[in-house]
Amino acid sequence: MSNDVSNQMNTSRRNFLTKAGTTAGAAVVAPGVFLTTPAAAKPADEPVDIERRWGILIDTAKCDDCSDCVTACKIENGWGSANPVEEESSPEQQAQWIRKVGLKNKSTGHVLSLPLMCQHCETAPCVDVCPTGASFKRADGIVLVDKHICIGCRYCMMACPYKARSFIHETITDQKPWAPRGKGTVESCTMCVHRVDEGKIPACVEACKADNHNAMFFGDLNDENSVISQELEKHGGEQVRADLELNTGVRYRGI
């Protein structure tokens, strides 16, 4: 997994700069344009656009046994133990939007633990295989399921290399209004799209920060001045299964 494909992102960033009519002097040319503006909430009546691509960077060196991110996701989006209806389900059938995965390097014995959720692939296999168009990628790179048109066939679950998606087996009640979910449809991490659209950061990233682990960064991969882009530029960030060339929006350090 040492295959660093961050070039892919640099290429798109370069394209982005070219499109914006600027070159190396981006910081000097047209100050005050979106390149230098910090990410702010878009007006509620404006659609998302391709100028942004949201991403998450996870530093595994700072991530230990804690699972605050998983708990935060459950509470925010009302799945798993945060919704009593699902406690009855068998473990294989329980929803998992995000889970902690342990990795052990067999030769050195080094163990690391990392959170794994939907990787928000640029060329998402789940979107490719969906027969109804329910699995889709938003203009800003967030991959979602439109449950209104999901028929529950679960092709996307088979296509996803990260096992990021779950099928809802139970009749669900007491959903969060901002995270609708119901029996017979597939779901996965939404990158907390309801929060992101309001200019907030995802619940998992917030929880990680709140507990001072600071292992997660969220931001705009297309904005070279965003913290996440600068972190990636300075210290790099790899994709899980980079060989699949999915250009994921979630990146890891130290895997």
């Binding site: 509620a44 009749t171 669900i172 609708p180 659209d197 309001e198």
Partner: protein, 168 residues
């Protein structure tokens, strides 16, 4: 959206058939609409307008507004509150007087259920969506850049579409 006109025609035919059902089922003894008991909504949209659209308009076409908003929100991230289902619920939730608790969507006293049960039209919304208020309404306070007292662009567009089809 896929063939909206065709879909609407089909939906309307279905609706018409469904609306005729209670009459058939009760052999002509169905309650007149005026005797249907509906809970009082909060009517808090604005000083000059109770609901987001006039009552007659909402009675006929509420589903069109919600359907349109749903696609705008899910696919484009447009999060205006005026036609958000959550805000419908916030205003139209029914509380049981004795307990102060909200009735759920499977209770015929639920605002949506009252009419839908009467008309024998099944609602799927609450298989996924919250059927009772969860957080404060942001219809009048939140990140909502739609002018409240004007007919919003989307609504105007929709009304034009309906008018073109000869809808009242």
């Amino acid at each position: 959206m896929r063939h909206p006109t065709v879909m609407r025609t089909v939906l309307r035919t279905l609706l018409a058939m469904l609306l005729a059902l209670p009459l058939a089922a009760f052999g002509g003894e169905a309650l007149p609409f005026s005797e249907l008991s509906m809970s009082e909504p909060q009517r808090q949209f604005s000083e000059t307008q109770e609901c987001v659209q006039p009552e007659e308009e909402m009675r006929r076409n509420h589903m069109e507004y919600i359907l349109h908003q749903r696609d705008e929100t899910v696919h484009k991230g447009i999060r205006t509150r005026v036609y958000a289902l959550e805000e419908c619920i916030n205003c139209h939730a029914t509380r049981v007087e004795e307990t102060g608790e909200y009735v759920r969507a499977d209770d015929p006293r639920h605002f949506c259920a009252a009419c839908h049960t009467y008309a024998s039209v099944k609602i799927d919304c609450f298989q996924c969506h919250a059927d009772v208020p969860v957080r404060e309404s942001t219809l009048n306070t939140g990140n909502n850049s739609v002018p409240k007292d004007e007919i919003h662009g989307l609504a105007a567009e929709l009304q034009q579409m309906l008018a073109a089809e000869g809808k009242p």
